[in-house]
């Protein structure tokens, strides 16, 4: 986007990182960029907590009788993995880290609409995370991340209340972040930045924020109800107290299915930015991609019943939920086709972020298509509750959302830190993650079709070969995630200076120094063109001295 800013200095004298020093300057910061980094550190820690649980699970499952722990401990491992990864890593990942950093920069603003509220959101997240970490250290929780009643409300002897409170509290962080983004995008766009000139990342963050605000209160209410039954024995879900166990599932999935879109929609936004930049093309079918984000956010609220096809809802309800679930597949398909078409006649280069973006398209396609098996009633009866489900949602969550998150971090790392990481190592890690991921989760599709139920600490011997393949893949995947941790930390000190725009990317965030000054822009930018105007870019830009 051409703006009033003509010449960008390679490095700003004063940037948001060196503007002031000391622990207090971070803990009391109102700068959205610093808050993004606070989130980055916290969710990275939580990612490795959840990842450690996953590694232990896969080690345990190498033999049919289980190698490592007692079944009760295994149950706690998969619960920790699920709770931590869903509520404390995936949901905040792209919105709270990249969204916080980029939303104001992409719209040419100085900060989010409510900077104090933004800092409060992070503190709320931390308090929630503390409750959950306490529950883990105090002996764990064994309900699964789904907290199904009456097991969670009456029968489990583990730390359900501490964990659920953690989830309850962190939900408010999501709500406030969503509110902040919506107001910011509505009110603070730079002159000339109309809705249809916005980068698609902003559209997807906007759609995500709507789900945050509409969906999260429902999980909060549900947790309060579990609390009432577990602590005060008010009959809500347990039939012995006069309750209805399916009511919980309706409430839980009314939030938790849209939560899937909270996790993947921002990823779709990131991928749109990456594909456009590294093929030097405007995203094909921009408005179709933008509106499909909104369509997914809306229809996503109407499909929760597909988690309950075998739970005991009526046949007719199942038919309607099945149809609606097929419907939500279509906007996702539209996105995939448009991203692929964007490559046509492009000028494509293959730095690490692009590898992640292409990996996202492939794995998300597989994750989406295997969702058709589960939207189909007849096949879902056989596949639900098996490893097929596990494989399917990991293709969406990890193959999709985490790949996009990794791609996004690699793409904006030079903007965030002002430094480049070693691209060869980054490409190697991306490849390792892709291979490790498929080796981990593809065999699980086969296991599920063969009938192996999920959440089994021990299993019949005939499933061993596929389980060993999956465990082998998980170890490759673990190494793939550790390598970036090392080179990112290395690059902060030793990486080459990136310059304002190492990828020659379009977008307002690239028209300010790296790292950006505390107020992002010295002069408020004025937008005069649509997003991704690579065709109109000057033949060769000053590529900031980076070795890319």
């Amino acid at each position: 986007m051409s703006t009033a800013v003509v010449e960008v200095p390679a490095r700003s004298e004063v940037n948001y990182l060196n503007a002031n020093y000391g622990i207090r300057s971070w803990l009391f910061t109102k700068d959205h960029k610093r808050i993004a980094l606070l989130y980055l550190a916290s969710i990275t820690f939580m990612f490795f907590v959840g990842g450690a649980a996953a590694v232990l699970m896969r080690l345990h499952l190498i033999t049919p009788e289980g190698t490592l722990v007692q079944p009760a401990t295994y149950n706690k491992l998969f619960t920790i993995h699920g709770v931590v990864m869903v509520f404390f890593f995936m949901i905040p990942s792209i919105p709270a880290v990249l969204g916080n950093f980029l939303v104001p920069m992409m719209i040419g603003a100085k900060d989010l609409a409510f900077p104090r509220l933004n800092l409060l959101s992070w503190y709320i997240y931390i308090v929630g995370a503390m409750f959950t970490l306490y529950a883990i250290l105090a002996g764990g929780v064994d309900t699964g991340w789904t907290f199904y009643t009456p097991y969670s409300s009456t029968y489990s002897n583990s730390h359900v209340i501490a964990t659920a409170l953690g989830v309850f509290i962190t939900g408010f962080s999501s709500i406030l972040t969503g509110l902040n983004f919506i107001v910011t995008i509505h009110k603070m766009r730079a002159p000339g930045l109309t809705w249809f000139r916005m980068p698609l990342f902003l559209w997807s963050i906007y759609a995500t924020s709507v789900i945050f605000i509409l969906g999260t209160p429902v999980i909060a209410i549900t947790i309060v109800l579990v609390f009432l039954e577990r602590v005060l024995h008010v009959g809500i879900f347990d039939p012995k107290l006069g309750g209805d166990p399916l009511l919980f599932q309706h409430l839980f999935w009314f939030y938790s299915h849209p939560a899937v879109y909270i996790m993947v929609l921002p990823g779709m936004g990131v991928v749109s930015e990456l594909i456009a930049c590294f093929s030097r093309k405007r995203i094909f079918g921009y408005s179709f991609v933008a509106f499909s984000s909104l369509a997914i956010a809306v229809i996503g609220f109407l499909v929760w019943g597909h988690h309950m096809f075998v739970a005991g809802q009526s046949v007719y309800a199942s038919l309607i939920f099945s149809l609606l679930s097929f419907l939500v597949a279509i906007p996702s398909a539209i996105k995939v086709f448009n991203w692929t078409a964007t490559l046509y006649k492009g000028s494509i280069s293959y730095q690490a972020p692009m590898l992640y973006a292409l990996g996202f398209i492939g794995l998300f396609t597989m994750g989406g298509l295997t969702g058709l098996f589960l939207a189909s009633l007849a096949t879902d009866v056989h596949l639900s509750g098996t490893y097929f489900i596990v494989a399917h949602f990991h293709y969406i969550m990890v193959g999709g959302a985490v790949m996009a998150y990794m791609g996004g971090i690699h793409f904006w790392w030079p903007k965030i830190t002002g430094r480049m990481y070693p691209d060869a190592w980054a490409r190697f890690a991306a490849l390792l993650i892709f291979v490790g991921f498929n080796l981990t989760f593809f065999p699980q599709f086969m296991l599920g079709y063969l009938g192996m139920p999920r959440r089994y600490a021990t299993y019949p011997a005939e499933f061993q070969v596929l389980n060993v393949m999956s465990s082998a893949g998980a170890s490759i995947l673990a190494i793939g995630y550790l390598i970036p941790l090392i080179y990112f930390i290395w690059s902060i000190r030793y990486g080459p200076i990136a310059g304002p725009n190492p990828w020659r990317a379009k977008g307002l965030e690239w028209e300010t120094p790296s790292p950006p000054p505390p107020d992002n822009f010295d002069v408020t930018p004025i937008v005069t063109e649509e997003a991704y105007n690579y065709a109109g870019a000057p033949p060769i830009a000053a590529a900031g001295g980076a070795n890319v």
């Binding site: 075998v310 046949v315 292409l358 009633l377």
Partner: protein
């Protein structure tokens, strides 16, 4: 996955000609690719599964190959490359909106009709009762035999399972039969199958239920009718469920109000099962398993017309097994009347 590649060429019209059994030979050494097909519905579910596998592979390869082709053809050759502007092309957008939509509607109709057809048990089904509890399956045959973590059934006979749980939600899953249903406390869920192959099959709990969830497994034994009859006779040491129910009916004093001639404080239960019963609140319900369970555990929730609500609740006094026995007794009363006519 060679197996799945076969599926790619799959047309619904070819389904009948397609011999799934041939695929068994395609299994890799050490890895099965297909679970056993032990019931009448297994093959039709697999047909849909293979079609979807084919569709998944087709679109995955379509996207992968297109990306790889573009990635090579349009790789950046110089940093100075200028790219042409491509405008959104509406016919193309419509094509890739409408084709997936049509496919989705096709799959929806196929899978839903299959599901709908399989959702109701045939009237002539043999009945077996299932109680899930942490962490075992208890299966009860009306003739009397009771089994733990094992289910013996005859081949080629439709079997209807009426299931409930003593505690948390469990899931009753027989992969070889392609059937699964959650087993909930406080209500009955039903499922049915008709076994087509003699053999022994896994029975799994598919809904996480606590510490020993993965130990809540068992075996399904599909037997020839003669073997099954022998097994029933050998296992049936005690009374039938209806006999036990009759004993409980007296023991808990039910018979003082529910007199067979209808002169007691409660209605006669003779011939009641399967009838439509009007309630004071205006509802009219069919007397089925759920109705009877509710009438025993929470009678005040269903006040009958013409009777005063004096029946005490038996919640907590009777366990699920005893309630099932009483139900079998009430059902047998209905059967007696019908045979008497």
């Amino acid at each position: 996955m060679r197996e799945a590649q076969r599926g790619e060429r799959f047309e619904p019209s070819m389904l009948n000609a397609f011999h799934i059994s041939a695929l068994a030979t395609l299994d890799w050494p050490g890895i099965r690719l297909r679970p056993e097909q032990g019931s009448t519905i297994a093959e039709s579910v697999d047909h849909l599964h293979f079609f979807l596998t084919g569709l998944t592979l087709f679109f995955t390869f379509l996207i992968f190959l297109t990306i790889i082709y573009f990635a090579i053809k349009y790789r950046r050759r110089s940093e100075n490359e200028q790219v042409p502007e491509t405008k959104t092309y509406l016919p193309l957008e419509l094509t890739w909106t409408l084709i997936p939509s049509a496919l989705c509607i096709f799959i929806f109709m196929w899978s839903s009709s299959l599901y709908f057809r399989n959702s109701r048990a045939p009237n002539a089904s043999m009945e077996i009762f299932v109680i899930g509890k942490q962490w075992m399956w208890q299966l009860q045959h009306p003739e009397g035999p009771r089994e733990i973590n094992a289910l013996h059934v005859p081949i080629n006979v439709p079997v209807k399972l009426t299931m409930t749980s003593e505690d948390v939600i469990h899931g009753f899953y027989i992969p070889a039969f392609r059937i699964k249903r959650d087993v909930l406390p406080g209500r009955y869920s039903t499922i049915w199958f008709q076994a087509t192959q003699l053999g022994t099959y896994h029975l799994f709990c598919s809904q996480y239920c606590g510490a020993e969830h993965s130990g809540m497994i068992g075996w399904v034994y599909v037997m020839s009718p003669t073997d099954y009859a022998l097994w029933l006779a050998g296992g049936s040491k005690g009374e039938s469920m209806a006999d036990t129910g009759a004993r409980l009916f007296t023991q808990y004093g039910c018979n003082t109000c529910h007199k067979p001639d209808g002169t007691g404080k409660g209605p006669s239960l003779v011939g009641l099962f399967g009838k439509r019963q009007p309630l004071k609140d205006g509802r009219t319900l069919t007397v089925d398993e759920t109705f009877i369970r509710q009438a025993i555990t929470n009678p005040n929730s269903m006040p009958l017309t013409n009777y005063s609500p004096v029946m005490p609740t038996f919640q907590g006094q009777l366990n699920e097994e005893q309630i099932l026995d009483l139900m079998a007794y009430v059902k047998s009363l209905g059967a007696q009347e019908r045979t008497a006519k």
